[in-house]
Subunit: 341 residues, 4 copies
């Protein structure tokens, strides 16, 4: 089926990942993570994130976010994020349902939270009538295809810690962010004060599987119960583990992400040449946001599936993935050029 | 790694299943189940369970149970099951946490619930102080390796319906039950009044993936929201779907289950010849329960991993799987014979 | 202790209410609401709200809101309200914790929700990734001391119903609203499409006790279980019931509310004459919002307790109650006049 | 209305309690517990329970239990109690709904839990599949009208603490227990290792109001948020506080409870003389359990309301209260004598 620009999760499995799955399929191993493949994958995470990193594997990205947040909150807490945060808009209320917490949102800028916006939410501290802020949650890369710099993350982490809060990172696309910044994964997480991280695998070439990573064991002590009660404990865990081991070896995580990023850059370059199409967000990771003439949408969507981000302004989102090719882009831009005249 | 008798989920992926995954890995498809592979798998379920069957795929078995129960309960309801039910003992309280319901248990016999035992739990109906019974949940095959007959299921379903309740079936091993009874899957579900079914894939040769099946659309209307909020919506759904399509084609579900059952029968036959080992449950599916001399356990467990079901009585559980071989059994029984003298 | 302008719940019990409690204190009656005093109070509600009204008594106002919302939602629903709604800001996340739902907010105008603002929140209908809007919740009178007209309520109810939603009213101060509009309670609830109402007693002279009222029995069928599970079933219910019977007899509800409203009007009149104090909201019920010179606050708060509504703008809230006297106002305005020069 | 033997909560308000309410009804005080009456009541609790006692007032008894348990658990924990525990049978699943925890029950003896019964429930410790035991909850006096001795409580507390668990006491009728044992309240709580206590007011002459008491501030730090989120924060808190102050002054708590106990003893004495009626439980507090001829029930229930505890065995429960008179007993026993011949 034709590669679209709908989402990086419309892509399939990277061949190396599928091969890794196949390679661990011999014989029996103990279920639920008590196997050597899982131990080995956890070690891989420590190589990338430091020895203090405690990684727990789950099935999906919503779960990674929700379980990580559950581990560090009580139901009377609030979680601060942007309006466009995945946890706020795309998880069907799972964070509220499972943690009991309220999400407090700021409008953000370029998909990023600023301290100035968060500060006013820190009112009512100690007041029993009000939910008590406990976590700032950011997405890296953001839902708008932008990337926090290490300094920006550190500033938010420091602010959170000064206010007895924690910093959570939804890293469904953290590899794209690290590749974009040309820094190791550690540089935008453990090194700059992130406390809990959802590390995304599926959007970067895996079949399924995400990791919840804590950088302080005091925070993750009861994650194993939360994961099981959260319906996220895989019985045949080895097959998630093998995927992560492959992704974190031979720079596969980086190569996949970097390729997707480059394809987004290229798409943006081509699009910028078109009249009547305006790119609306910085292209720093693997997404391109643009306003296209509304009347062209039917023709475009007939050939390629992608999301209309904002019906009112006719803004669309195009995502690239590890398997997007230059031909895909040429072909799509050709259609676009034709459509917008 | 040596095949053990710990659990059917210690086995890997059946080759046909892995091939099916590989075969749908080309190109992009829309995420979250809106793809033709998923449509096709849902059709497969209708072939086996009748046209009214509404199948929804989830990651794991605990989730299949919990989401199915959530769809048909309100938090003030109770769910009736046996003490040894997986939902009661092995899901770390996920049913209570997610549905808010109370589980009321009966001790059961041979792992099965009887109407006589359930009847006394139906007190306090209409009394606001008491949780209101809404679901009887049975496991097929049971956690003790026994199998409900169609007539037994129908009696429980009729009883449930007469009392404004529903019948839920945890079918993590439903294929083993159907194979044991030599009946189609429909004969122990749709045909005898089951309302909600967890259909197990993982324990019968899949890599991951279970299905929640409803036999009345009125009950499943909001399952899609419950699934997403329950953190069980796979983005790359096609890979679960392809597995189910393979499992439900060419009798693979039956062949895998039947093989596992035969291996359990054979294991039981061999074990019955041993002195000092006593089989404690009918061997109707793919599990063998036996009391072995306590002093032999260390030597056995050094070579083979399996679960001690009851420490007090030295009762153990041996599970067979689609890939258990006659050699595995000979080898294990040899060790056992040697150990028990 | 001096009567303040902090909140109508800083007042005590109206003498008629206390007398009513005393009058039902003889002998034993069956607990949990199965008594004639409760039956009688429910009848009183029907007199005021129509024969279809189904009233359930609870301890407090937060509970009235939360249980009413719980009865008509499922956890994947959203509840639409203003930023300043009590359910959003002053209930410590109880709605999210108990219902599992997400609250979606609009900024509102004069404390009121408008259809224009709500409309954009009705996106993602039928999309499993998004919470599904189910309830519009308004407060009457509003948290800003304003009052919805019957026409405004009807328009919101019609809009809600057209979109398969319900209209919930937080009527913690509904009596003040009805008195302000000089209409019966029915005219701003049952007659204009409200589906679920929290009827406030405590802020209008009761000791404790609120009522959840439904105007359609189909919605309240399981409220009795929700109430008990929600920890709101009073064992000695007769003492809530007697209070409500007194409040709803001899126009006590109206007289208390009307008096409080008049006192607010008078306070506003006096305040308008002062330089350097600016009233910021229409004074339609029993609250007065004003911006006062920041430097006067310490002196004022030393003598009278009241809430600073907005620290940034030095906006304060003054509430009057059934027992506020003209002398209280004169005395307070005297201090205020002195303070602002 | 005739005083029945249905429940101590069918009684009304003790005159001293009603007078105390009336005495604090002058003027305004700050809401939500930040008032001197509440401070004073909290001090009263410290007089009785020791300086470390941290008391929080709530509306009802179910809430006292649930919020106390919520404060010391996480949702993957289990709470161990008897089958007949109020939290297990009479709270419509509120503990499960609000805490997310599973209740594990033992059958008990005389309404009491024994270490021998609890011990087997402490399996699966550290195993992610199983809920993790965290609290033993006992009722004092028990639901069967019996009383734990201080030594029995201490043994359970020590056992709990040795196993990293806590001891919770549902003290809805703790005053009856202390009066029965002729010991101060402290002797069966703080002095013997109870960690969390629900202190009952309503069943001992109050109008409404219970207290959650912790004996270690580390456990109660976030109770204020849990209480508000649990919909149990009274706005006009002074009226609960004044009741508690009265109850805990002049030995009113003791006199009320002692009287009820004496009435139960007397009722039991009289009943023991009757043929065909058999008392089934020790009469140590204010309840009498007896098996009466089934055919006499209609005549008895026509005159007096009480609960049939066990339909199958025709066992009934008769409760006495602070206002039961000797005449009430004579009259009831007269009827009973007549009925049983």
């Amino acid at each position: 089926m034709k590669r679209s620009f709908a989402s990086d999760n419309n892509a399939g499995i990277h061949p190396d990942i599928l091969a890794a799955i196949s390679s661990v399929n011999a014989g029996h191993v103990v279920g639920y993570g008590d196997d050597r493949y899982t131990q080995s994958a956890i070690e891989k995470f420590r190589e990338h994130f430091g020895g203090a990193a405690d990684a727990h594997f789950v099935f999906g990205g919503t779960a990674a976010n929700v379980l990580g947040l559950q581990a560090v909150t009580r139901p009377y807490n609030s979680i601060l994020c942007t309006d466009v945060a995945h946890i706020n808009t795309d998880e069907c209320g799972a964070p509220e349902k499972f943690t009991g917490c309220k999400l407090l949102t700021v409008s953000g800028s370029e998909g990023k939270i600023s301290i100035a916006e968060v500060q006013p939410l820190l009112h009512g501290l100690g007041d029993q009538h009000h939910v008590q802020p406990k976590v700032i949650s950011i997405s890296q890369s953001t839902e708008l295809g932008t990337v926090y710099t290490p300094a920006e993350i550190k500033a938010l982490a420091d602010f959170a810690h000064r206010n007895q809060m924690l910093l959570h990172m939804d890293g469904a696309r953290i590899s794209n962010a690290a590749a974009s910044l040309r820094v190791p994964l550690k540089a935008i997480t453990a090194d700059v004060g992130v406390n809990v991280l959802s590390f995304g695998g599926t959007k970067n070439g895996m079949m399924y599987g995400e990791a919840v990573i804590f950088f302080d064991r005091a925070l993750s002590q009861d994650l194993k119960y939360i994961r099981k009660q959260g319906m996220q404990l895989a019985s045949k865990m080895r097959f998630i583990s093998a995927q992560f081991s492959a992704l974190l070896s031979n720079d596969l995580w980086y190569r996949n992400a970097e390729h997707a990023n480059q394809m987004a850059k290229r798409l943006a370059q081509e699009v910028r040449r078109l009249r009547n199409v305006r790119i609306t967000q910085k292209v720093e990771a693997n997404g391109v946001f643009a306003i296209v003439p509304r009347e062209t949408l039917p023709a475009l969507l007939k050939e390629y599936f992608f999301y209309v981000w904002n019906e009112a302004s006719s803004e669309v989102r195009w995502m690239t993935s590890f398997d997007t090719t230059e031909e895909d882009i040429e072909s799509f831009v050709g259609l676009l050029r034709h459509a917008v005249g």
